[in-house]
C-alpha cells in the first residue's frame, strides 16, 4: 500500500506546489488547513522549506541548492543579505548570535527561522540573482555535488562544471524526474583527488580514461584514450545502513552523462520502493538487484545506445577525506590552472554569521573574482586570487577567524544541525563540536607530522555530518550518568574515503558528552605513543581490533564542562533562558 507521503505526492508535487505555497504565504500560516498540515509541510520540502522541530512551530529552515557549491560573483552577498533580513528568530545562539548561514556537507546553504510570509520575497530575490531553493529537499534530484573548484583546479582530469551545470538545468523542474521514491543525490567529479565523494552518493560519476575508437576527435581509425566518467550507483550513509556506491561497469563520455543520469533516475523512479520509505533509497534496490541487473536494466529500458564498459579510473590518487596523504581537504592556498589561486578557508562546523558572510563577499570581490565556492567539509573557498594579492588577502582580519591555516581540530570539525532545529537529532551538535574543538586545541597535541584530524559529529543515524568517513566519528545517543539521563555519543574510528574507502568501526558506545573530549585526548595519547613511524591515524586504527581501540578511547571527565547534558529536545530552543516547551514562542504573526 502506498504511504501517506506517496498519496500526497500523487495529488500535488513538484513545480505545482509553488502556487499553493505562495497562496499560503499571502493568506498567512494559519490558512493552511488544520487537516492538511502534514501534507503541505511534506510538499514544501520540494521547494527547500523544512518545518523546524516542535517548539518552533511556523518557522522553517530554508535550503538553497548551489550546484557543486558554486556561488557566482555577487551571490554570496545575496545570501548574506537574505540571512540578515529574514533569518532572525526568537532564539539567539550563544556562539553564533542571532543570524547566520550554514554551509552543509552537500555544498548547499541553510538558513533558519524563515517565516512563510517572507518566502515570496526571498524567492524573488534569490531568482533575480540566479539562486534557487527548488528541489533542495524532498523526493527528487538534490543539489549536485562535486569538486568545488571544478574548472579551476590545477589537479583536474576533466572539467566537470559544464556537466554539472547541464544536469542541474535539465533535472531541476523536469516533471518526469520530479517525483522519485526518495531523495536522489548525485555527485560528478572531474578531479583526481576524490573531492566529489561519489562513493557516498546515490549516483556517482568519477573521472576515468577509456580507449575508444576515434576518441577525442580522431578520425575513427585508431584507438585513443578519451576522458569521461565511470558510473557508480547506490551509496549513502543513513539509517545504520551505510553503503559505498557500487561499480556498474559503465564508462560514459561527458556528452552522454545526461542520458545515463536521466536513465538511472528514471530506473529509480520506476523500480524504487514506494511502499516503505525506509527501504526506498536506491542503495536498497542495488542490494536487491546487484550491480549487473542495474546495468542490464539501464541498457535495455532506459538508454538507446550501447553502454561502454568501465574505463581506467584514477581512484588510486584519491586523497580527499582519505585520512592520509596530501589534500585531505581543500583548506589553504592552491594553484589554479590559470595561474591564480584558490584559497580554502575553514568555517568551523560550517556556520558563519551574516555580517561575516557579507564581509567575505566583499573580500572575494576585492581580492578575487567575487566568486566563492563551498566544499563538502562545510568550508568556503575564495577563487581567482592572483599571486600579487595573496599576502594581503591572507592578512585580512576576517581570516583570523576563518583561517587558511587552522588548527587540525578546527579544520577537522564537521557537525550537522542537531537538536537546535532538527526533528530527528538526539543531541546538540554544532555548538558542542565548537566546544570540543576549542578544548582539544587548547589541551591536546597531535604528533608533529599529523596536521589533519577529522572529527565529525552527527546527531543521529541520518548521518548528515558524514560521521562514518572521519578519523573520529561521533553519533548522538543517550545514556545514564549517576542515574540521570544525559546526552551521549557513540564513538567510531578509522573511517575515510580514498582508493579503498572504509566506514568507521563503532568501538565505544554511549560515552556521556562531558567525557568525550577526555576520551579523544586519551585516544590521541595512545596513538602518539604506539604508532609506527609516520603511521597515519587511519592505518593505526586498521591494525588494531575493536577491543584494543575501545581501550584507547577511555572516556574521562576533564575540565571540559558541557552545559547541554540534559535532554535538549525537550526545550523549545536549547539556548533560551526560559527553554521549556511551555515557553515556546507563538507561531509568527503574519505581516
Amino acid at each position: 500500500m502506498p504511504t501517506d507521503v506517496e498519496n500526497w505526492k500523487s495529488e500535488v508535487y513538484g513545480n505545482e506546489i509553488r502556487d499553493r505555497l505562495f497562496e499560503f504565504a499571502e493568506a498567512g500560516f494559519d490558512s493552511i488547513p488544520d487537516d492538511e498540515r502534514d501534507a503541505w509541510f511534506e510538499r514544501f520540502k520540494w521547494w527547500g522549506l523544512y518545518h523546524q522541530r516542535n517548539g518552533q512551530e511556523g518557522y522553517f529552515m530554508m535550503r538553497i541548492g548551489t550546484p557543486n557549491g558554486v556561488l557566482e560573483p555577487g551571490q554570496l552577498r545575496v545570501v548574506g543579505e537574505i540571512a540578515d533580513e529574514y533569518a532572525r528568530g526568537p532564539g539567539v545562539n550563544p556562539i553564533f548570535g542571532d543570524v547566520y548561514a550554514d554551509f552543509t556537507t552537500r555544498q548547499s546553504i541553510q538558513l533558519h527561522w524563515i517565516e512563510l510570509s517572507d518566502v515570496p520575497a526571498i524567492f524573488e530575490k534569490l531568482e533575480e540573482n540566479g539562486l534557487s531553493t527548488q528541489q533542495a529537499c524532498g523526493d527528487s534530484w538534490r543539489n549536485i555535488v562535486g569538486n568545488p573548484v571544478a574548472g579551476k583546479d590545477g589537479q583536474e582530469v576533466i572539467d566537470a562544471w559544464p556537466v554539472i551545470r547541464d544536469l542541474n538545468e535539465r533535472f531541476k523542474g523536469d516533471d518526469d524526474h520530479a517525483n522519485l521514491p526518495r531523495k536522489w543525490k548525485v555527485s560528478v567529479t572531474g578531479s583526481a583527488d576524490g573531492s566529489g565523494q561519489g562513493d557516498i552518493n546515490d549516483l556517482a560519476f568519477e573521472p576515468a580514461y577509456k580507449a575508444v575508437t576515434g576518441g577525442n576527435g580522431g578520425d575513427g581509425d585508431e584507438s585513443e584514450d578519451a576522458v569521461g566518467f565511470n558510473v557508480r550507483v547506490g551509496g549513502g550513509l543513513s539509517r545504520n545502513e551505510p553503503r559505498l556506491a557500487r561499480d556498474i561497469d559503465v564508462w560514459v563520455p561527458p556528452e552522454r552523462v545526461p542520458d545515463v543520469a536521466g536513465g538511472l533516475s528514471a530506473l529509480f523512479r520506476d523500480y524504487g520502493d514506494r511502499e516503505d520509505r525506509y527501504n526506498a533509497r536506491v542503495k536498497f534496490l542495488v542490494d536487491e538487484w546487484g550491480a549487473d541487473e542495474v546495468r542490464e536494466t539501464l541498457q535495455e529500458e532506459y538508454v538507446d545506445f550501447e553502454l561502454e564498459s568501465a574505463g581506467r579510473d584514477v581512484r588510486e590518487e584519491y586523497t580527499y577525506n582519505a585520512g592520509e596523504g596530501e589534500r585531505n581537504d581543500l583548506i589553504g592556498v592552491h594553484d589554479q590552472k590559470d595561474g591564480t589561486n584558490f584559497v580554502g578557508l575553514n568555517v568551523l562546523v560550517g556556520r558563519m554569521g551574516a555580517d561575516d558572510v557579507l564581509e567575505l563577499a566583499d573580500l572575494a570581490d576585492e581580492y578575487g573574482s567575487g566568486e566563492v565556492r563551498l566544499s563538502q567539509r562545510q568550508n568556503v573557498i575564495v577563487t581567482d586570487v592572483p599571486d600579487a594579492a595573496l599576502d594581503e588577502f591572507l592578512d585580512e582580519p576576517l581570516l583570523e577567524h576563518y583561517s587558511s591555516e587552522p588548527s587540525p581540530f578546527m579544520r577537522g570539525s564537521v557537525a550537522c544541525t542537531g537538536t537546535e532545529f532538527c526533528s530527528l537529532s538526539i543531541v546538540e551538535t554544532k555548538n558542542r563540536q565548537v566546544r570540543f574543538a576549542r578544548w582539544l586545541k587548547a589541551n591536546v597535541d597531535l604528533p608533529a607530522d599529523v596536521d589533519e584530524f577529522h572529527i565529525h559529529l552527527s546527531g543521529c543515524t541520518a548521518s548528515c555530518a558524514q560521521p562514518q568517513i572521519a578519523d573520529v566519528s561521533l553519533r548522538g545517543m543517550k545514556t545514564r550518568k549517576d542515574g540521570d539521563p544525559v546526552e551521549a555519543l557513540d564513538v567510531g574510528l578509522g573511517g575515510g574515503l580514498g582508493e579503498n574507502p572504509q566506514f568507521a568501526r563503532w568501538v565505544t558506545q554511549r560515552v556521556p558528552v562531558d567525557e568525550v573530549p577526555g576520551a579523544i585526548a586519551n585516544l590521541i595519547e595512545s596513538f602518539a605513543a604506539e604508532r609506527e613511524e609516520g603511521e597515519s591515524f587511519r592505518a593505526f586504527v586498521a591494525r588494531h581490533d575493536d577491543e584494543e581501540l575501545d581501550a584507547f578511547v577511555d572516556p574521562e571527565e576533564t575540565d571540559y564542562e558541557d552545559p547541554m547534558m540534559h535532554n535538549t529536545k525537550r526545550t523549545w530552543y536549547p539556548y533560551a533562558e526560559e527553554d521549556s516547551m511551555e515557553d515556546a514562542p507563538l507561531t509568527p504573526a503574519d505581516d
Binding site: 502534514d38 516542535n54 520509505r277
Partner: protein, 101 residues
C-alpha cells in the same frame, strides 16, 4: 471521529491529527523481554517505524537501543498515549510501558 496517525520526517515524529505529538530521543522504560534480557529495557527512541491504534490507545513500533545492555532492534507495539474526544494525551514518560503481546 477518525484520528489521523502518521510517522513523519524519517521517523522523527508521531503526528496525531496533523500535530506533532511524540518525538524521538526520549528514554522509555519498557517491559520488552523480546528486545533484550534486562529486567526493564532502558530504550532510547531513535526512529518511529509505524503507528496504529488499539481502541483509543495509540501504539507505535520503534527502533532503538537499550542503553543498559546495548541491544538494538525494533520493538513490538508499545502504547504512547490515548485519544479522548479527539484530543491526544501522551502517557507519562516515566511510566513503564508494556509491549502488547
Amino acid at each position: 471521529m477518525t484520528t489521523r496517525l502518521r510517522v513523519l520526517d524519517d521517523g522523527a515524529w508521531i503526528s496525531v491529527n496533523d500535530d506533532r505529538k511524540v518525538r524521538v530521543s526520549e528514554l522509555w522504560r519498557l517491559d520488552a523481554p523480546d528486545l533484550c534480557e534486562c529486567a526493564l529495557t532502558d530504550l532510547v527512541v531513535e526512529n518511529f517505524q509505524s503507528v496504529g491504534a488499539d481502541g483509543s490507545t495509540v501504539e507505535v513500533q520503534v527502533y532503538g537501543q537499550c542503553i543498559a545492555c546495548g541491544e538494538k532492534g525494533t520493538t513490538g507495539w508499545i502504547p504512547v498515549g490515548r485519544v479522548r474526544g479527539g484530543e491526544f494525551a501522551e502517557l507519562d514518560r516515566s511510566a513503564v510501558r508494556r509491549v502488547r503481546r
